[in-house]
Subunit: 187 residues, 2 copies
Amino acid sequence: MRRSREDAAETRRKIVAAASRLFRGRGIAAVSVADVMGALGLTVGGFYRHFESKDALVSEAVDAASIETTTRHASVAPDAPAVERLGMLLDAYLSRAHRDRPEAGCPVAALCSEVAHETRSTKKAFTRALERMLVGLAAVLPGESAAARDLRLQTVSSLVGAVVLARATSDPKLGGEILDAVRRGLR
Amino acid sequence: MRRSREDAAETRRKIVAAASRLFRGRGIAAVSVADVMGALGLTVGGFYRHFESKDALVSEAVDAASIETTTRHASVAPDAPAVERLGMLLDAYLSRAHRDRPEAGCPVAALCSEVAHETRSTKKAFTRALERMLVGLAAVLPGESAAARDLRLQTVSSLVGAVVLARATSDPKLGGEILDAVRRGLR
DNA sequence: TGTACATCAGTGAACGCGCGTTCACTGATGTAC
DNA sequence: TGTACATCAGTGAACGCGCGTTCACTGATGTAC
């Protein structure tokens, strides 16, 4: 059942997209190669025509998720003033919707503590994702000074910390309080 | 080879202590029951004389790690003024040593994104750990007002976010920058 | 343009492996008399 | 205080299971003439 080159490339893209959602939603360790292929109605064997290993997929999925979310944020109201765009970014990132739908959200927040135990290539993909966030932040919090960079690093830590804690908490009220407090603090 | 009640209680304590270090250092999923027992020179079978399941151990290990680290922080220079104690807490939490030795550090930072996929009882233990951090912070950032609580929630988000990102990054220089930037921001 | 052959995307069963948990067993400890 | 028996902490092998990866196979696609 050989498929055309275009079909194969399309399958590869779909594998990365499905993996990207599944890893963010359920964690890397909890998602098997069979889960990813099954989500596309395919069987495991074919996976290895496209990727050398599960780990190779993990790195690509992190990159794909990161590019997807940063370009999505960048494309919101591109003509509004920076302060307004910062406010929208904070509202979106620190929203209940983002907390409750990790599979569609920021891979840095979804995978941060897991990634520390993954391979070097996955940590590199994660680092690229973090740097994309900093580039995205530079568009709304610009400046070349050390103070400006400090502010972006502080902001990214607060954003990621807040979402991760809000998700890990069994008490949705405390989770909501964290999101709201950090939103007020960063405005 | 039955052991005395005291021996058995001691074994139980050692299992929790070993698990607490291993889970923080390598992650929950990556540490098996056999790993934990092996760290004490024991075999797997005996584990179930002490715990109903691996999951029961996870919850207890999170609580134990949380109590250990919060009491350690609370006991540092108890007679110094609050501002000074805050500074010491920030320095310790945001240090390279803490980043590089997760197995001896804060369980909230070590397990935050993994915990989102664990059972309800583990998420509850994690929430208790987070609340212990907030109580510890209240000792150096006191106040009953909403603004005071906001500040503590913001601080905990920044601290956890910074350490988690510093650990997940493949670039130790970027990791160090994050720790330093957040330390400067919180002072 | 048509034909013969090589390629390779995807199938589905199999591989070895490590996991959490169970279990029959052991022998020292605890208890009842 | 001494003895007989029950208890149960820890052993080590076994259980079923799901994992990542491999492999012989299939048949449509791509290529060479």
